[in-house]
Symmetry: C2
Subunit: 420 residues, 2 copies
């Protein structure tokens, strides 16, 4: 298949970028790769948009079924986003024996296994490099470069919005202001909850972990966003030698797979600490290959569209049908996950308070590694505690006991530490 | 070709790693990718080595011609290294219509165009991911992920030996001691000149630039090693906010391609500054994709062997024959390259000296951005000058004029600054 005739469904931001890149680089691509790309059909709600992009009106439709049914089309590119009709489009295209390309992490995180199963059954390929990590070739790296190695862990900064916000906050900007700035720059949606609550990163992590561990992941992983982090926490962390990043973490050991997304203290010396603004990054650890670190723009019209075009080119260059096999795996309960912790408590400024807190921690097998309390005349003073390795379950129990005391102001802030 | 029957030529460090990985992961690889790898023939000077690796004596030979002639073999894996007989092995395999995999950057840098031309003529693929950047999938990234984009620049830390030495020197260790330590750890050869003089990095840069710019590069690029850098220079640089790295740089603009390898001051805030020890790293800039940064282990038996196995798997999954086309390009003369400079001079400790130096710089259009001279009672005192952007040619002229003065101790140290 050296001629790839795509049917493009969705002409939004990424879709129009794909059209632009094909229009300007079609000859360069053919010269370099031998693959000739043509847009055989395009579907969008508005015909004007298609015309403005220079798409031949004869190949435009407002009904995606016509794109799938078009005998010219051999690859369907779904750039609609969201769950529906994206899922239906993808499944119908597969049933019509068309290869599929998508940039849609949401539909893959929720319906990926169904989609991959149908693809295998119908002998077609589904490529989705643009769904995770923006312009970082992470899907290819896991599926190709690591196909003869065993991945042990993935640490990812997978959401550009929250990384942008945390970068501004590390410079002292309050959360609300950083969020507004991100929205003004187009990095955050009007309703930012999906990003700031960590769900976007968590969905992307599921996709990566499925591929890395050949795993069928059906339990919801622990997910915590950045809304409770304050610029003060970032300042404390910085003083202690750490940055705070929203990390999506997947680790595999003999006991199973650990999978969690949450704000994390990362030593400033780590490559992940230096990933700023809207950039994404992934630190992969393979048994034989050791650490591989990748970082690049996490979003944006042309970076993402370039990656979609790369998938289109790949459709023209390979015959192999990827048979993704996902096995039942044990997902470790988060309560059994172990890490060091950063704990910020606002404690009543009176005698005996610290003794009570440290007793509760001790009774729950949590040992203190560092302690920071500054002179303060208020009724409540902020205290920062860094612990040694402790279990999530025991930390949760300790915090709930502390919460019952009127000497602790709600809510304490708990941030995991990744020793990278 | 779902069954890849390799003929392995060379059972040294990487070759034995390839055997080990295939032996232990052959089923995993088949399950994941549908590609079944078998070792159909193996060639090494010593039969004992092959036996120790568990290779069937019936498929072993000491004559590489028998591997190429073996009708079972459909992919020849050349892991001999060096120029000859590697070049002959590769060309004979191609003429016998066998696909070729190599990890040999030297033979590609010197004979790459001949090899790729013959491969195209004979309809076979040559893959060489392991030749540059260790376990970083840089060849794939350039040839696949960037096939629809235009790469504007490449900044690479492509030699693990020198990066290890510079890392130790940044901690205050003298060059000679750092080199000995690298040799003791197996990171540097007994004769380290190829690495420390920058030639290894320069060869790898040629390969990357050829692919990135579709360019036929036949002129020798400017190459300078790390042997004249002192721990003192690293300390000065650090004080000014820079690390020193051996960078291989390729840039393309309207005037042509700039190509040079030399020690470089890199701002500490840059991702490249934080690449330590034997790690390699590459910062790619694409017109549409923006910056992509990759970093990973630059060498080592299992990391490199894993990458060779990845190429073997790819041979089993694709039908496309890569048609690499390299066009005549203009390589910009190094004298016309522009950068800021770090200049360390040992100047006579007497009146009027600085006036002479600054006059020479000024006459050559070199303007001073920062200046550092510490109190010192010696006959000669070290002076560090940071310049604004200046031309290589003019800087060279200025330095040669300074060199004629007996107030300047030979040899001044000149290091380029990359504003990343």
């Amino acid at each position: 298949m050296a001629n790839v005739n795509i049917g493009l469904i969705g002409l939004g931001n990424i879709g129009s970028g794909v059209v632009e890149i094909i229009q300007s680089n079609v000859d360069l691509i053919e010269k370099r790769t031998g693959v000739r790309i043509s847009i055989a059909a395009a579907c969008s709600r508005s015909k004007d948009k298609a015309l403005a992009l220079g798409i031949d009106p004869k190949i435009h439709t407002t009904d995606y079924r016509q794109v799938i049914a078009n005998p010219q089309v051999n690859v369907v590119v779904e750039l609609v986003g969201g769950y529906e009709p994206a899922r239906t489009i993808i499944l119908e295209a597969i049933k019509a024996k068309k290869h599929v390309i998508t940039a849609n992490k949401a539909v893959l995180a929720r319906h990926g296994y169904e989609i991959f199963e149908q693809a295998t059954k119908n002998g077609v390929n589904v490529l989705f490099e643009a769904s995770v990590g923006g312009c970082i070739p992470i899907i290819r790296t896991i599926e190709e470069s690591y196909s003869s190695d065993n991945i042990e862990s993935i640490y990812g900064i997978l959401n550009g919005t929250t990384n942008y916000i945390l970068t501004r906050m590390s410079e002292g900007m309050p959360y609300e202001e950083a969020l507004k700035k991100a929205q003004a720059l187009g990095f955050a949606e009007a309703d930012p909850s999906f990003d700031v609550e960590g769900k976007d990163a968590s969905q992307k992590l599921s996709i990566l972990a499925s591929l890395a561990f050949d795993a069928r992941i059906e339990t919801e992983a622990y997910t915590e966003g950045i809304t409770r982090i304050t610029a003060q926490d970032l300042a404390y962390a910085s003083e202690l030698g750490y940055a705070i990043k929203l990390l999506a973490i997947a680790c595999k050991d003999r006991d199973g797979i650990g999978l969690h997304t949450h704000p994390t203290l990362v030593p400033k010396s780590s490559v992940l600490a230096n990933v700023s603004n809207e950039f994404n990054a992934i630190l992969l650890k393979g048994r034989n290959t050791g650490e591989l670190f990748l970082s690049g723009k996490g979003a944006g019209k042309l970076p993402t569209a370039t990656v979609v075009v790369t998938d289109i080119i790949e459709m023209g260059s390979r015959t192999r049908i990827t048979q993704r096999r996902f096995e039942k795996v044990t997902i470790k309960p988060f309560a059994k996950s172990k890490s060091r912790f950063f704990l910020r408590l606002d404690l009543a400024n009176k005698p005996g308070v610290l003794a009570k807190i440290t007793r509760i921690l001790g009774e729950n097998n949590i040992s203190i590694a560092a302690f920071n309390q500054k002179e303060d005349a208020g009724d409540f003073v902020p205290v920062v505690i860094i612990t040694h390795q402790a279990l999530e379950g025991e930390m949760e129990k300790a915090l709930s006991e502390c919460g019952k005391l009127d000497i602790v102001k709600p809510e304490p802030v708990l941030i995991r530490i990744a020793d990278l």
